[in-house]
Amino acid sequence: MTLAFVGGTHRTVPLALRERLAFSAEQAAEALTRFRERFPGREGVLLSTCNRVEFYAACAEADGPPPPPDQLVSFLAECRGIDASLLTPVLAGDRDEAVVRHLFSVAAGLDSMVLGEPQIVAQVKQAWSLAQESRTSGPLTGEMFQAALRTAKRVATETAIGRERLSIPSVAVADFASGVFERFDDKRVLLIGAGKMAAETLRYLRVAGARDVLIVNRTAGRAGDLAARLGARAGRFENLSAELAAADLVVSTTGATAPVVSLELFAEVELRRAGRPLVVLDLAVPRDFDPRIGQRPGVWLYSVDDLAAACAANRKSRQRELPAALTIIDEETQRFMGDLHHRSTAPVIERLRAGWSETGDAELDRLFRRLPGLDDASRAEIRQSFDRYAAKLLHPPLASLRSESRAGSPHGLLDALKRLFDLKD
């Protein structure tokens, strides 16, 4: 065993316990330092996000095994001052190939709450960087995390698993408002209501380039506060009709129990709009805009249900990409494990080559002493022939080793080689 991991996610660890188990960056650095002292010569990486806490441990085979999962659970409990018995039932552990497969899936966002979400890649990268800074990362975890990031990139580029947007504000802006407007920097955005969803939608609109934003709310103070926080202007709710006439895009999130904009009110507004298109993102429940307004020419009205349906379609679309992503995870895991097993044969190969080289050199020296008339060119030619001969003889066993490594650690073959060629450890 060379790799071990233990961890829990939003699926297995209740929120209350997850909050206690989560590590800040400083706490993670302290934990890694403690790990180095407790398990010298072992490699460790701690990945802690709002949805998961996982510890990856590794050790070269010659140096003995890494701490087993149960020891890692105790270690995590100790670091966070939690009773280990609370963690044991909710944290899962695994070893070797399963560890690699899990990390690759995590990095590719396949184990995330939102399938294919891209933020996890940066979090995996940060976890590895922190381990490097804390000197708990080593060659094995280094290669495993590098391979995980490579795998995540492959999944992101070769499948569309992370491309479709899943949140209502992002779908509203990127899929619908951007379908109507080419740019937002010359558009007037009107926010009706000062809810959380309005602020979130505005964040996406800002990224898309929106600059001219006006917020109106029945409670003027709340509109003023939100406007100050988001760098927007606050308007008067009494001027709603005029502001609607001037707006290009409206985001409405009031808590009103009846429509704020009736068809009659909009009919008045429409006359003053001179045919300019209007996008309305009605994110309120109950709806703020009379749905019949959406049938007016030049009006593109989207309710929460419309956007939620689009999100659901996008989610399904991501699910359809899952088999292709899992195939990539499988390929990369096999490749990594093959390389790992092959690397474990390196000392034997080294000794085999060294033994043959020593024997060859001794034979050549004897030959050159018996043929003192040979010039340097002839000696070099003979030496090259010897080297080629040795390489050709060594090729079949080395190829067999490489081939066996793909299926797992080739212990049997290594033992046979050691006995056949009398290779000492």
């Binding site: 569309a160 109507v180 080419e182 045919g275 298109p277 020419p297 030049g298 593109w300 419309d306 996008n314």
Partner: protein
């Protein structure tokens, strides 16, 4: 190299465009990592072969671009193929080829059934002939691009009205951009078609006045169809301008651009299969016009 270039035929680039179109159409069926590259590769191959073909004709045959109906159609197809490549490289996820490549292939098809005989020209009418050809070419290309923008506007508006999120491999430009393109191309098409028609009248008048070449009667089908096309395009441009400030303006402009394309297609088909004196060589010695071949030669003399 010369042998290679001289061996390029219309089939070479038409086949390349057809394969690029097939790649575009496959967007509707499945995803592929190499399709984009294949599409551009076939598009570029077609355009290069197309360019070499036109260059060869211009340098080795008395057929500079626009000098015959065949060359006129091929040049129009070449411009649209170049536009297709540019748009595809700039917007790889927008399926412009689905709309533009059939037009390119249609123009190549029209070229194949058109006369390759150069239009008769004299030095006096050469400039007017070139102006006439260029404006008509610009009008046709503008109508084709306008129809593309109009069709995409209608599809995009339909999707947005049905609250459908964009498809991954079938991303359409925004309504704002498409409406702008439709509006602009309708205007350009009207102006250039009118200029092409007027320059044709001047060309005909010069021919008639100088008695250099056979003139086209005012009742000739080409004159009538061009007049109808210009009348429609001017009407469409004015209608688009008038409805611009209404909420239904972009939709009207999209339909007007599609109808303009239908009128242009009908006009081309009429031209291809109809009989005309347009661009035809003199049917008899032009003694009746008090001019003979010597007059043309004198005109040509430096």
């Amino acid at each position: 190299m010369i042998e290679f270039v001289s061996g390029i035929s219309v089939v070479c680039f038409a086949a390349s465009y057809a394969v690029a179109l097939a790649c575009e159409a496959s967007r509707l069926l499945f995803r592929s990592g190499v399709r984009g590259a294949a599409m551009i590769a076939f598009g570029v191959a077609g355009l290069v072969a197309h360019t070499l073909f036109l260059a060869w004709r211009a340098t080795h045959e008395p057929a500079v671009p626009l000098s015959s109906a065949f060359d006129w159609y091929l040049l129009a197809a070449w411009l649209l193929a170049g536009g297709y490549l540019w748009l595809t490289i700039a917007n790889p996820r927008t399926p412009v080829g689905l709309f533009m490549l059939p037009v390119v292939l249609g123009l190549i098809g029209a070229a194949q059934v058109s006369s390759r005989t150069p239009f008769p020209q004299s030095p006096a009418t050469q400039i007017w002939g070139a102006i006439h050809g260029i404006f008509n070419l610009a009008a046709s290309v503008a109508v084709a691009i306008g129809a593309l923008a109009g069709a995409l506007w209608l599809i995009q508006a339909g999707r947005l009205a049905r609250k459908q999120p964009p498809l991954r491999s079938f991303r359409l430009p925004s309504l704002e951009r498409l409406a702008h393109a439709t509006d602009r191309t309708l205007m350009i098409a009207a102006w250039t078609a009118a200029a092409g028609f007027l320059s044709g009248i001047v060309l005909n008048a010069v021919n008639r006045q100088r008695g250099l070449l056979e003139t086209v009667p005012w009742t000739d089908p080409v004159v009538l169809r061009m007049a109808a096309l210009v009348a429609w395009l001017v009407t469409a441009a004015v209608a688009a301008r008038v409805t611009r400030r209404s909420a239904d303006g972009p939709r009207s402009a999209a339909w007007l651009s599609l109808v303009s394309f239908a009128v242009l297609t009908a006009s081309i088909l009429w031209g291809v299969f109809g009989t005309t004196r347009h661009g035809a060589p003199p049917v008899q010695p032009v003694v009746s016009h008090a001019v003979d071949q010597q007059a043309i030669d004198r005109e040509a003399a430096p």
